[in-house]
């Protein structure tokens, strides 16, 4: 428990972070920026898990452990994404989505 801060305030912050991430994912035109937006989405759910664990179910540690796993998997995801992005950059010398896109309906 943090004194003077209720669960609603923290959940509002995490929801705002989530939607900033969603907005960024759809509007950014750069692959690295899209990756950063995805990190925001994942981190907002990490925040959610920790806060819900702390405020609502303090007798167990399910949420805390879940958040550790999310952080580890997010790192693996980022590493793989960067590997593919570097390979793509070597091929076409750009990270802009409109220059990468060759396949369309």
């Amino acid at each position: 428990m943090i004194l003077g801060v209720s669960i609603y305030e923290i959940l509002t912050v995490s929801t705002i972070i989530f939607f900033i991430g969603v907005y960024g994912f759809f509007t950014r035109k750069n692959l690295i920026a899209m990756l950063m937006s995805i990190e925001l989405i994942l981190n907002s759910s990490v925040l959610n898990f920790v806060v819900i664990n702390k405020y609502l179910f303090p007798q167990s540690i399910d949420g805390n452990i879940f958040s550790l796993f999310i952080i580890a998997i997010a790192a693996a995801e980022t590493a793989l994404a960067l590997a593919i992005i570097i390979n793509l950059y070597r091929l076409i010398m750009s990270l802009k989505t409109e220059e990468i896109e060759t396949m369309k309906n």
Binding site: D62, N87, M103
Partner: protein, 471 residues
């Protein structure tokens, strides 16, 4: 815990061993071409081991569970992965042997499949999430495996970004369910969860996360690009194994964990099923590239699978599992034919198939079998798969939806027949030359074609699935 309970997860343990052996053998063996045979042999041993019966039990306090149905479903997917391993040999030998990247291909494919095994037997949201990520990340590496091909890298990054985005949504949904249910175990959420705005939001977000994997309609935009750019064996893996496992998990979640919400999700599925069938079919008609065409056809098939969900009982489970078993075989058959033609001639467009029957009669028979099975033409097994899905939907009185599905089958018959017509009836001045496939491709084509014919006439298979179908 003793050895007997650990034997319950022997499929996962054996598969992990197979992956490790493969990585070690890659260092030792000098002749890299033999790695293909080693991979097939190891996975074959693993597949045979899977047929020994196993008990119904739970491990790790309910995090991992195994029932007869889960075991049978794993066996179906095992056979699917085994066939994909066989058909990918020719691609690996042509493209990856010069780059000396043979063993990694199989190691990545098997580790992705390991994730799916954990995902299917998950009894806890943490296990489900880790399984889902382990299933997705190696596939993105596989999709961009053709390093010097720009399309392959593009499809890899598209798959990775959309998969990561969807798993982000999935996680946010899980956190909401955690807040309302108070636990992450499926068994304890099942009784404790109350219907509130928060839990409904959580259900929708979890559904959206899985719908990305199954490529249902509002979330299908990555499918066509990824399937077109990815190497053909990887595209077949994505369309068959990945989709089948995600459908099974969605079924467990909806029928068991969210069974209180049935009035809610049944109409969600009703709408999404209609949308998915129509959009998949109408986009498939205007495709010219074969892999892109199969992508939209698999979107449409996902809509048909949702039809079976609607009755939400034993009939639904058996219909969906049976349909997936047939769908795995028929889609692998079509992808195998496309791949063998594509590797021999580097042609992937539908009009390139003109006159195929005159130069390569056997491969065009295999292609016809697969497409007829996907379309659902009676003597072949695909018809019965669709038939049981209709039965499931009609048993709860969704006659209008069944009618719409029949209309969609007619539309899909049109575009499947376009390909068959190109191969059998059209003439071409410049047809695909006669070629010989390698032995593994031949074996898998023969196995799948006969299996499709036999399963269509052999009813004990469905009765067996029906007898074990209780989630």
């Amino acid at each position: 815990m003793n050895w007997n309970t650990l034997l319950l997860m022997r499929q996962e343990l054996v598969l992990t061993t197979v992956i490790l052996i493969l990585l070690v053998v890659d260092v030792i063996v000098k002749n890299k071409k033999s790695l293909n045979i080693i991979a097939i042999l190891l996975f074959g041993i693993y597949t045979i081991l899977g047929f020994f019966p196993s008990g119904n039990n739970e491990l790790f306090g309910g995090m991992y569970k195994n029932t007869e149905l889960i075991f049978a479903f794993k066996n179906i997917l095992n056979i699917g992965v085994f066939l994909i391993t066989m058909i990918s040999v020719s691609w690996v030998n042509k493209k990856m042997l010069p780059l000396n990247k043979v063993a990694e291909f199989y190691a990545l494919m098997f580790s992705s499949y390991l994730g799916m095994l954990f995902m299917i037997s998950a009894g806890h949201f943490l296990m489900l999430y880790i399984g889902l990520e382990l299933a997705t990340l190696p596939v993105t590496a596989l999709a961009s495996y053709d390093m010097f091909n720009r399309k392959s890298s593009e499809s890899g990054i598209k798959l990775l970004l959309s998969a990561a985005f969807s798993s982000g949504i999935f996680l946010f949904g899980i956190s909401m369910i955690y807040a309302t249910g108070g636990s992450l175990y499926f068994n304890s959420i099942y009784g404790n969860i109350a219907i509130s705005y928060l839990s409904i939001m959580g259900l929708f977000m979890i559904f959206a996360g899985l719908a990305f994997k199954i490529s249902l309609v509002p979330f299908h935009f990555w499918t066509a690009d990824v399937y077109e750019g990815a190497p053909t064996p990887v595209a077949s893996y994505l369309s068959v194994i990945s989709k089948g496992a995600a459908v099974f998990v969605l079924m467990i979640l909806l029928f068991k964990v969210f069974s209180n919400f049935i009035d809610l999700w049944i109409y969600l599925l009703y709408g999404i099923s209609i949308l998915t069938m129509f959009i998949g079919n109408f986009f498939a008609i205007r495709q010219t590239n074969m892999q892109r065409f199969l992508a939209f056809s698999s979107v449409a098939q996902a809509g048909f699978i949702l039809l079976g969900f609607l009755s939400a009982d034993q009939v639904a489970v058996s219909a969906v599992v049976y349909f997936i078993a047939i769908y795995v075989l028929s889609n692998i058959l079509v992808f195998a034919a496309v791949q063998s033609i594509g590797l021999a001639s580097n042609k992937y467009n539908i009009e390139d198939y003109n006159g195929l029957y005159r130069t390569n009669p056997l491969i065009s028979i295999a292609l016809m079998f697969g497409l007829f099975s996907l379309a659902g033409i009676p003597p072949i097994a695909g018809f019965f798969g669709k038939f049981f899905l209709y039965t499931a939907a009609a048993s709860k009185g969704f006659y209008l939806l069944v009618f719409i599905a029949v209309v969609n089958v007619t539309i899909s018959l049109y575009y499947y027949l376009i390909v068959v017509r190109a191969a059998w009836l059209r003439k071409s001045d410049n047809p695909i030359q006669f070629y010989k496939s390698d032995i593994f491709m031949k074996i898998s084509l023969v196995i799948v074609s006969t299996a499709l014919l036999v399963l269509g006439l052999f009813s004990p298979f469905y009765e067996y699935i029906f007898s074990i179908s209780n989630i």
